[in-house]
């Protein structure tokens, strides 16, 4: 074992949840957990960075639920995939991070209904675990890439070990532009 790097083992593709152009100069990938308070704190920081960098940035969110630590994280992640199938991934992602104290199954359904997603279909897919495997694959891709907690960020494919407060992360990203 000679490679001690921490690089994405699954490259970013159009199948990812992404905002911006996949060919942008900067591709920021977050492995996150909707119930993690640190991810909740990172959420507005990422938004601000997106606003600041505009078309130079492609932002990707990958589910990494720490379900042993966070009882609602797995279902929240699966629910975001159901929302994705209904074309509402980012709206749902935002609602979850803005309502981290309301992530139980009934709240997840309410958030979905508020976005106009089909309620019965949502419940069936959530309870049936339709996206369990997809979320697990996302989780394992993170583990194998060196995700070490949530949130974990990767910039242009490599793990970012620096501080992710707005200024240091922004400074780092700007230096690569």
């Amino acid at each position: 074992m000679t490679d001690l790097g921490n690089d994405l083992t699954v490259p970013v593709t159009e199948d990812d949840h992404l905002q911006g152009n996949i060919d942008a100069a900067l591709v920021l990938v977050e492995y996150g957990d909707y119930e993690c308070v640190h991810c909740g704190r990172a959420y507005p920081i990422v938004k601000k960075i997106q606003q600041h960098l505009g078309k130079d940035l492609c932002f990707v969110f990958r589910n990494f639920p720490l379900s042993q630590s966070h009882p609602h994280a797995e279902h929240a992640a699966e629910a975001s995939e159901i929302a994705d199938a209904g074309g509402k991934f980012w709206e749902y992602h935002d609602v979850l991070f803005e309502n981290q104290d309301a992530l139980d199954d009934s709240s997840l359904a309410t958030h979905a209904a508020n976005l106009g997603l089909d309620e019965e279909g949502f419940q069936n897919e959530l309870q049936g675990g339709t996206y369990e495997d997809k979320v697990q694959q996302s989780f394992m891709s993170g583990v194998e890439s060196g995700v070490n907690g949530t949130p974990s960020f990767f910039v242009n494919g490599s793990r970012y070990d620096g501080d992710w407060e707005y200024e240091p992360l922004m400074e780092y990203l700007s230096s690569l532009r």
């Binding site: 074992m1 001690l4 921490n6 720490l66 379900s67 042993q68 630590s69 583990v143 194998e144 890439s145 060196g146 995700v147 070490n148 907690g149 949530t150 793990r159 070990d161």
Partner: protein, 167 residues
């Protein structure tokens, strides 16, 4: 700078307390490394219970227990905290991984593995993957402030499973 034991070295044996007893004089349960022969063991030395980076690191390992089991391995945490401290920490975080107390003589096991920090009395953040015969197959000294994740542990365990040798 610590002199961390490297791949190919037999893992020094030890017996450490894994659970708190009913009182300070009661030893509680012990874990003896040589009793774990026959399966792979991952030793994760970390500086201290309750500090933020350690917490995240152990939370990740706790999530990966089924993955370690698939690779015939158990991951065990070690720090110089006492068994009572570990017990409170595990209960608070709901961790299922075992945490060993390298408490008396303080840091003795960490010294044997070359990961004790004389300068501040903590253990380094260091990982050892030990095979079923008790030989270290991979070791890694992480910068204190960086959580090393699990990817390289899993790679080392997969190499053991596939019979790849580097020593």
């Amino acid at each position: 700078m610590s002199n961390i034991l490297s791949a190919g070295t037999p893992a020094p044996d030890f017996a450490l307390q894994s659970t708190a007893g009913t009182s300070a004089g009661d030893a509680g349960e012990m874990v003896k490394l040589s009793d774990l022969k026959g399966k792979n063991v991952v030793l994760a030395f970390y500086p201290a219970d309750w500090s933020a980076v350690c917490g995240d690191q152990l939370a990740l390992y706790n999530e990966l227990i089924p993955m370690f089991e698939k690779l015939d391995a158990e991951l065990i945490g070690i720090s110089v905290d006492s068994a009572f401290c570990h017990q409170a920490f595990r209960e608070n975080r709901e961790y299922k991984i075992r945490l060993l107390a390298d408490f008396e003589p303080k840091g003795e096991v960490a010294r044997k593995y070359g990961v004790y920090r004389e300068q501040d009395g903590f253990t380094e953040r260091a990982l050892f993957v030990i095979d079923a015969e008790g030989v270290i197959r991979w070791s890694y000294l992480s910068p204190m402030e960086i959580n090393p994740g699990a990817n390289h542990i899993l790679e080392a365990l997969k190499e053991i499973k596939e019979g790849v040798h580097h020593d």
